[in-house]
């Protein structure tokens, strides 16, 4: 009976190690080749770390191989069979101790995430989670109520439009005030929060430094020149229907489609009359989702 348990635990170890090797290799593959609009089924970590997944998969194959002979020699590990010789088989004692029915519980637990991943679809985070995290807005320094920045002379000239990547750099310190009036061309997801007034929304992107656990949402408010409504397919997710509700909870909505917003940075009033940085006079068009919906600030070739 004990011998059977030893064998089952031994086989379980090897199977589990090799399952994780396959799983990590798959994670590497899907991170390297994300499906359009999704960060890949398992691509939920910064692609800069994908080599760690591949290296781990390769190492786990070696580890699984090293555990195989131990399993085959399982018979020699039975207590009291006289196979231990001095210190040479000292490590096999540990093997005996570990190969208990209790280890099967560990193995089952460790297998659970792989099973869970088979039931997990979609990508990124849902709008509900994003709303819980809150949007980190890009601001102009010294932005106060009742005041608006003066477009600088520099801004009047022809300048390349600002992208999310450039704006992200100023998430913490605030965008330089001379950017008032600068053209902007950003791609992001349509999002409406409780501060949005009529015909206002937030263009958001999810930024991941390491993995989805540290995901934060960055955003710039926008006010289009013509009222914009998301496509019918996504309308159910949008706040358009509840936008005039006075209930803040009813106004926080789920993510809607991918949009490209072009306009100029300016300070406008939000729903509560507070001055905020907006992409004013914006033209909005729905666009297909980018190859990778997440942004990775530490990655040089980030698809901003």
């Amino acid at each position: 009976m004990n011998h059977t348990i030893h064998r089952v635990v031994g086989v379980g170890r090897v199977a589990l190690i090799l399952s994780w090797a396959a799983f990590l290799a798959f994670a590497w593959y899907t991170t390297k080749y994300p499906q359009a609009g999704k960060p890949g089924r398992l691509g939920i970590i910064n692609p800069s770390y994908r080599w760690l997944s591949l290296a781990s998969a390769a190492t786990l194959i070696l580890v699984g191989g090293a555990l195989l002979p131990a399993h085959r020699d399982g018979r020699t590990h039975r207590p009291g069979d006289g196979s231990e010789r001095g210190g040479e088989h000292n490590h096999d004692h540990e093997d005996q101790e570990a190969a208990s029915p209790g280890e099967l519980a560990f193995q089952a637990l460790f297998l659970a995430p792989i099973v869970l991943s088979l039931c997990t679809t979609g990508s990124g985070l849902s709008g509900t989670s994003l709303a819980r995290r809150g949007v980190h807005e890009i601001r102009l320094p010294g932005q106060t109520e009742g005041r608006s920045p003066t477009p600088s002379a520099e801004a009047e000239g022809v300048q390349p439009p600002l992208s999310m990547a450039v704006l992200y750099e100023y998430l913490l310190t605030g965008a330089p005030a001379q950017w008032a009036g600068r053209p902007v061309d950003v791609i992001g997801q349509y999002f409406v929060d409780e501060r949005c007034g009529e015909n206002q929304f937030v263009v958001t992107r999810i930024v991941v430094t390491c993995c989805l656990a540290d995901a934060e949402v960055i955003g710039v408010r926008a006010q289009p020149s013509k009222p914009f409504k998301p496509a019918a397919g996504a309308a159910a997710n949008s706040a358009q229907g509840s936008q005039r509700s006075d209930e803040p909870a009813a106004r926080v909505i789920k993510l809607a489609p991918w949009i490209e917003v072009r306009g100029k940075l300016e300070a406008l009033n939000d729903r509560f009359g507070n001055r905020a940085l907006f992409i004013g006079g914006a033209t909005v068009s729905e666009v297909p989702a980018p190859d990778d919906i997440l942004l990775y600030p530490r990655r040089r070739r980030a698809p901003w």
Binding site: Y49, Q107, L125, S126, G134, P141
Partner: protein, 319 residues
């Protein structure tokens, strides 16, 4: 259902991020088990207790590990007869006092006193690790852990056989620690998805509450010490001192670490470790913010960043 999907993805992402480091730690642990004789460790450690603890705390510079990878290594160190205070000091300090973390903290805080933040993080991490390890050693006593000490072996295995044995040990460690990582990561993912950050931000203005909140966030978010500086940076409404509390406590204590500690320490030891580290981190950061008021304000910028914000008249705001 939507939140369950988020929970699954966050859980998987934490595992993908942490498992390579657990595997690395398991490999180092396996190699140490087979190729590092116990007497070598005993020989290289200083006899003086303080110096031994200090050398344990500084060992992360030579053997850099994040908090997930350090646990199997520490377990093996204890099994090899390393004194508890030294192994603990290594376990608590290595995730902070290591070159990768130092670099990532400097990069993340490049716009706000990178040297100060990084220096304080290392200094506090080192001191708190040493004090905590001393307190745990004194109060938890000989019965602090559940690891059986390994008897010294006379025979040295051949390179080929030794490598196979080391990989075997690594595999067993990987499964054992990994299973506990799954428990911790699941709790962490649930909290990560459910905790509303807006509620958290409202405490940013009060120094004591901000510090407590950021310590709570460190417990809940379970971030790798190599990436947590970037997240700390993003809590721009919070003071530097409260963010330091986040940066110092996170690598010592979070949900996944507590789950993994149960595989090494007895419950009493874990309680002492948690209580001691929490009290020390809170006291140290509060003290710092009182002695150095600038740290109790959000985001003191570097001179360059400050200059960038001081705009010439053409860019002034108009009524």
């Amino acid at each position: 259902m939507e939140l369950f999907g988020d929970f699954s993805r966050v859980l998987l992402s934490i595992l993908f991020e942490a498992l390579p480091f657990v595997l690395l730690g398991s490999l180092v642990s396996g190699i140490m088990e087979v190729f590092l004789p116990s007497e070598v460790l005993a020989r290289i450690l200083p006899k003086n207790r303080f110096l031994a603890t200090l050398s344990g705390a500084m060992a992360g510079l030579a053997l850099p590990m994040c908090e997930c990878g350090v646990i199997p290594v520490m377990r093996r160190l204890i099994r090899k007869g390393t004194p508890l205070n030294v192994a603990l000091a290594y376990m608590l300090a290595a995730p902070v006092v290591n070159p990768i973390v130092i670099l990532s903290t400097m990069v993340a805080f490049r716009s706000m006193r990178p040297l100060t933040v990084t220096g304080l993080r290392i200094g506090l991490g080192l001191v708190i690790a040493m004090i905590t390890s001393a307190v745990v050693t004194v109060f938890a006593g000989k019965d602090a852990h559940t690891i059986e000490l390994k008897a010294p072996t006379a025979a040295r295995p051949s390179w080929r056989k030794g490598s196979r044995e080391a990989l075997g040990h690594a595999g067993r460690d990987f499964i054992e620690i990994g299973a506990f990582l799954v428990i911790g990561a699941a709790i962490s993912a649930a909290l990560n998805v459910l905790v509303e950050r807006k509620i958290v931000v409202q405490f940013a203005g009060q120094n004591v509450m901000a510090t407590v909140t950021m310590m709570g966030m460190a417990l809940v978010l379970n971030l790798c010490s190599e990436a947590d500086a970037f997240v700390a940076w993003s809590f721009r409404d919070f003071s530097i001192s409260s963010r330091l509390a986040f940066l110092v406590l996170g690598p010592i204590l979070d949900m996944k670490l507590i789950a993994m500690y149960t595989r090494v320490f007895r419950r009493r030891t874990i309680l002492i470790l948690c209580a001691c580290s929490v009290v020390l981190v809170f006291t140290a950061t509060m003290l710092l913010s009182n002695l150095w008021p600038e740290l109790s304000r959000p985001s003191p910028l570097t001179d360059a960043a400050r200059q960038a914000q001081q705009q010439p008249s053409a860019q002034e705001l108009r009524p």
